[in-house]
């Protein structure tokens, strides 16, 4: 799109689409394929935002290393959190991940005031250095990360790791008896998705230049990832792409034209998807046409 000399608005929307394809994809890697519903992926996005913000403002690191560092920080947090939580099943896993995300939000909000330091800056938030870059810059920052997430999907569709994930979805105990290291595979998926979410968090923080715990750890980000994947089709390669592109564009259209009713309409859309095509757009097409690898 940038080659067609588009307007700043188009570029911003295109960047948003890329960001959300990537984020929905991250959720899909873990939850879409395994069926373990993660209700707190935003925690890694938020931690990434904070890692980049703190690295850039407190330690003067440049942007690109900061964003990569954000991914590493998110993955390092995901490892010890994933080990105990991934033993939980169904609603318990969903609630535990949600609780962890809310805990981290509160920690970022209250840490400074409680311990009398100046690190997370509490509810004041952190203002990042103004980048001076335009939307094209961020488009090209997001592009490789989103492509990497999709590459992971592509790998999942045709690797042992991917079969493991799908086996966990179908019948976890049977997979375990058959010799699949289920815990290890779930953990790999969880940490991978956290790593990319951390990078996305870092990029978004630098893009919007101002973060607060409420914005960085906003539960609506989680909800968006879930709904986009669900709309497109869980556990498919094209699902997050279709869902994220569609919903981001709907948001840009409806969100500006009908600000007051936007969230009501999102609610209606969610209920409609669940009732009419619970497998999502891509999932339903796959089923109808008998396609396998999309």
């Amino acid at each position: 799109m940038p080659m067609l000399t588009p307007s700043e608005f188009t570029l911003r929307v295109a960047g948003g689409v890329l960001l959300w394809i990537g984020m929905a994809g991250c959720w899909n890697i873990m939850s879409g394929y395994t069926g373990y519903i993660d209700f707190g992926p935003v925690v890694y996005f938020g931690l990434g935002s904070y890692a980049t913000a703190i690295a850039m403002t407190k330690y003067g690191l440049p942007f690109v290393p900061s964003a990569l560092l954000s991914g590493v920080v998110a993955a390092l947090v995901a490892l010890p959190i994933g080990i105990p939580t991934l033993h939980l099943k169904g609603a318990y896993f969903a609630i535990a991940t949600f609780a962890f995300a809310e805990t981290m939000k509160q920690v970022c909000l209250e840490f400074d005031r409680t311990f009398g330091v100046s690190f997370f800056e509490g509810s004041h938030g952190i203002t990042l250095p103004i980048s001076g870059h335009d939307n094209t810059f961020f488009f090209y920052c997001l592009l490789p990360v989103t492509l990497a997430v999709l590459l992971v999907h592509y790998g999942i569709e045709r690797s042992k790791f991917g079969y493991g994930l799908k086996a966990i979805h179908e019948a976890e105990s049977a997979a375990e008896i058959a010799g699949v290291n289920t815990t290890g595979i779930k953990l790999r998926a969880y940490v991978t998705s956290a790593f990319f979410l951390g990078i996305f968090g870092g990029i978004e923080a630098y893009w919007i230049t101002y973060i607060t715990p409420d914005s960085a750890f906003n539960v609506h980000n989680t909800v968006q990832m879930v709904i986009m994947t669900l709309l497109g089709g869980m556990g498919t390669l094209l699902g997050p792409i279709v869902g994220a592109a569609l919903l981001t564009i709907i948001y840009e259209v409806l969100g500006t034209a009908f600000v007051e009713y936007y969230l009501v309409m999102v609610g209606v859309i969610i209920i409609a998807i669940i009732l009419v095509m619970p497998r999502g757009i891509v999932g339903t097409l796959k089923e109808r046409m008998g396609l396998r690898f999309i």
Binding site: A91, Y92, A94, I95, A99, Q106, I270, I274, L275, P278
Partner: protein
């Protein structure tokens, strides 16, 4: 010093009663259907608004509007389950989480559109009245809600244990296929269960209306607290709501007294997280573990 501590514990227990009052319905709905009702807070919000409007328009005392809120929310819950959630009840549970989240968005935002962002409260002649003795204060309104919570949970237990419908609900919770073979209309039982859960939640919402701030977006926080209470007490185990409420209330109250109010929220979630990992069946171990 000692008075401060005792006061903090009393405040915590009273808060726990409030928590238990509005979490019991959440536990019932999860226990019977496995539905994590993310629109739970909206039921509380609607209950509180019912009593607010009855007070504002007709000067009805908030406690007299309890039956109206209960009936209204029962009907609302019954219809939602019957015509919406029942349609996905045989699919993976995630469908019902997302469906109820959709309901949350619609109800909260329509309420916002109708009733605006304004913070409202009900000021009665007894608002802020305390029983004071030995340097301790006990607000009457919270005390009433505390006893209501006990009564609701006792009533619910009695209903589930002693009535024909209650037996059918328990049978459905244990094994819906066998219940169906025994002649139970499972879908109808689901609708009734959701209705009852919503009804007692509406009652709780109306009963807290004299001392909380009422606004359309209040729901999500209440949903989150109900989560914590129910996990601490044991999912699907009714008296667990009292345990969970008491523990959470006292922990928050002590943390707010000795540390800071903000940290008490972080402690809530930390307790929830640790509890799920260490003891998923709840503090007394009678909840459903998987």
């Amino acid at each position: 010093m000692e008075t401060v501590f005792i006061q903090a514990v009393i405040n915590g227990l009273l808060l726990g009663g409030v928590y238990a009052a509005y979490s019991a319905g959440f536990s019932l709905i999860f226990g019977v259907m496995g539905v994590v009702n993310l629109a739970h807070g909206e039921l509380i919000m609607l209950g509180a608004f019912t009593s607010y409007w009855m007070f504002d328009c007709f000067h009805v005392d908030p406690y007299l509007s309890l039956p109206f809120a209960t009936v209204l929310l029962f009907v609302f819950g019954y219809l939602i389950q019957k015509y919406v959630i029942n349609r996905v009840i045989d699919q993976p549970h995630i469908m019902s989480y997302i469906l109820t989240f959709g309901i949350h968005l619609i109800v909260a935002n329509l309420a916002l559109k109708m009733w605006s962002h304004d913070f409202r409260s009900i000021t009665t002649s007894y608002s802020g009245a305390n029983a004071a003795f030995w340097g301790l204060n006990i607000p009457y309104a919270r005390l009433i809600t505390f006893f209501l919570a006990g009564m609701v949970i006792a009533g619910l237990w009695f209903f589930l244990d002693r009535t024909e419908t209650g037996r059918a609900i328990r049978a459905t919770a244990m094994d819906k296929d066998v219940a169906r073979l025994m002649g139970v209309n499972v879908r109808e039982i689901y609708a009734v269960t959701f209705g009852i859960g919503a009804g007692i939640t509406g009652l709780a919402g109306a009963s807290i209306s004299p001392f909380v701030i009422i606004f359309p977006e209040m729901g999500l926080n209440y949903t989150i607290v109900a989560f914590c209470v129910v996990v601490l007490g044991g999912m699907g185990y009714m008296p667990g709501a009292l345990w969970g409420g008491a523990i959470l209330g006292v922990a928050q109250s002590l943390a707010a007294t000795y540390l800071s109010a903000g940290i008490s929220v972080a402690i809530t979630f930390l307790m929830l997280f640790v509890m799920l990992i260490v003891r998923p069946a709840g503090i007394v171990g009678k909840g459903m573990a998987t």
